[in-house]
Symmetry: C2
Subunit: 388 residues, 2 copies
């Protein structure tokens, strides 16, 4: 049985008309003789609307209750999509994260997939059905509903693709692939035909929104080939994300900017320890940490912290909190190890009058931290300097 | 531990402001030293909106997928209510039908509760928490999500009250209790202070919308005292539904009308058998059956058959289908055994020019079947004749 996994984002299933079109696309794939597993997100802005309602009730709702609330979004869209596929004369069944065997840890509102036991999915595929799976959700060993944090549906899709030994996994959205920079910020950004898992991981972790970092990490580990494609566009287009030996490494794959970062700062060894303990207590996903004997800075993204209001209260006793930060990253083949290129990033920043708060590198990436309002300017300047 | 169960209907949790008010009412009860279990419906018209979306996609969606879809409504409201109770400084936890141990048969979109195993609910109550349970839903022995059909949240509440040995169960809605007839149809309808389980069961089964028949049946079997009350009204008002020895039997408790009935008719023994087999196949809940050697009539309500379009197709081969029917019932102490009263109902109908299609009785009730458009006229006339 040749299996493919397709994931459809919220804008692709925003209303019943679009759901019908997605059903047709799914059936097209089935007609090519493939067993199809579909992972869906919540319809349109459903998740944001549910979050807004929660905030009308409580500035920092319990994460467990948030998960219970948010998991409804995907359940709604998967049931509707399953009905739409049936209307086209193909057998379909929708399965929750729990029914699909998506097992997670118990970190509510940001759980990690620990294991996938897709026995029910396999049974249904063998019975000839198209299987529609709720993205973004799983079940903890305590049998509680968990959600995976932003971009979690991508992760569901890739994790399932790995567990099922799928031929490939398609991530379908309203964006037609991975660009060298956000086209809304950089006019001359170009669509990439292909990119390695590793470079994509760097871009995704640092602001490229088309794919989520954790999803790429799963794809890299299980060696699943990914396609980022437009749902209602060229079925053979988009960007292929695969092993470097398949797609090669690009000198500079792209530039990604991210806003809404927060810097926590602690001075002195003991307060550094307290800062890390507090961050662990609040389950803050660390974007970057740098420390010397005097000062430790911990950076994270507000988009990873749904209950920031209450977390902030806890932290203020222990550390300095600086909101309104941002960062721009450049990713490419050994970019972060090339001192000449790193020097050039600094002069580019200076050239457009952007004051850097900090800098950090990995072998494939350099990240420049700045004020939130400088992110777009710096993105444009770095793209001009390295990609044009 | 003294336990009470409160159920809040859709209009009571229609928006976040109302959810906050319900949370305050729940906390008021908790402050009186009672352990509180809350059963919630979906917010406002959520269920109808979800159904409308399903119908945009398919005229007769699979019942399993409908259940997956509709169960989201209650999950949303319970998570929000749990957050709102927490905001007031009380510990709360929301539990799905499955987590609450609501076990049902596997008749999707109209499942019956077979057993309640409220171990988790009890644990949470003992830990001092207010437990918020999703109404209208359960889990089948196949571990599939099921829904209970219209009014199912009332049934959830009463079944839990029975299993927990609750002192009483409150059904809170935008209606302040049980009336002698629908006040929108009969101006002079009066609020009943109390009514027996048995008489209420007859009214509910035949159109009184304030409480659902299955919920009363559960209350009758487990001898749970029920109160039908307005959520935002007099906390000690409303109607008490209890054992006849507690509340007495009324000569005429009330008049209830129901529309959207369908009559199936078969002529000849073999076609009667085929009709019943087809009805069983389609899981039609029979409202009334009468048969002689020549003709069998089977009545049911469209509100019990979410996939009527496809069921209708199957039936048309076998039987005559008459849509657009209705019925008016009068319930009271041995009303259905009193020939004089039965005769009076017929003369009342004739007096207002309503042609009866059929008549049926039980010890506590008489039901007059008529055309849908005659239901209101007949309700008013019977209320005038028997209650005023």
């Amino acid at each position: 049985m040749r299996v493919v996994v397709q994931k459809y984002g919220g804008s692709s299933v925003a209303d019943t008309e679009k759901i019908k079109k997605v059903a047709a696309r799914v059936v097209e794939t089935r007609k090519r003789g493939l067993a199809v597993v579909v992972v869906v997100s919540a319809m349109g802005k459903t998740t944001d609307q549910l979050l807004a309602r929660a905030r009308e009730i409580s500035p920092s709702p319990s994460r467990r209750e948030l998960d219970m609330l948010l998991s409804c979004g995907e359940r709604t869209s998967m049931a509707l999509l399953s009905m739409a596929v049936s209307e086209l004369g193909y057998q379909a069944i929708s399965l929750t994260g729990s029914q699909s065997g998506i097992l997670t840890n118990d970190r509510h509102s940001g759980a990690r997939i620990i294991e996938v036991r897709p026995f029910r999915v396999q049974d249904e595929l063998e019975a000839g059905r198209i299987v529609i799976v709720a993205g973004f959700q799983g079940v903890s060993y305590k049998r509680e509903v968990t959600t995976l944090g932003r971009g979690g549906s991508d992760t569901t899709a890739v994790a399932l693709a790995g567990a099922l030994g799928a031929e490939y996994c398609e991530i379908c959205s309203d964006v037609d692939g991975v660009y060298t920079a956000d086209p809304r910020v950089v006019d001359s950004a170009e669509l990439l035909k292909s990119i390695s898992h590793e470079a994509m991981l760097e871009l995704a972790a640092h602001g490229a929104k088309v794919l989520h970092a954790e999803c790429i990490e799963f794809a890299r580990k299980s060696q699943v080939a990914l396609y980022a494609r437009a749902t209602f566009g060229d079925a053979a287009g988009g960007t292929r994300i695969d092993r470097p030996e398949e797609v090669g490494e690009l000198d500079v794959a792209g530039v990604a900017g991210t806003k809404q970062l927060v810097r926590l700062r602690a001075s002195g060894e003991r307060s550094m320890d307290r800062m890390l303990a507090a961050a662990a207590e609040a389950s803050l996903p660390v974007l970057h940490l740098d420390a010397d004997h005097e000062i430790a800075d911990l950076w994270f993204s507000l988009s990873d912290v749904p209950d920031w209001a209450s977390v902030r209260e806890q932290l203020l006793d222990q550390v300095q909190v600086e909101e309104g930060c941002g960062a721009v990253s450049v990713a490419g083949d050994f970019f972060g190890r090339n001192a000449a290129k790193l020097a050039k990033t600094r002069s580019v920043a200076a050239g457009v009058g952007v004051r850097l708060k900090a800098m950090a590198t990995s072998p494939l990436r350099a990240t420049l931290f700045c004020a939130e309002e400088d992110v777009d300017t710096l993105t444009q300047a770095l793209h001009r300097a390295f990609r044009e």
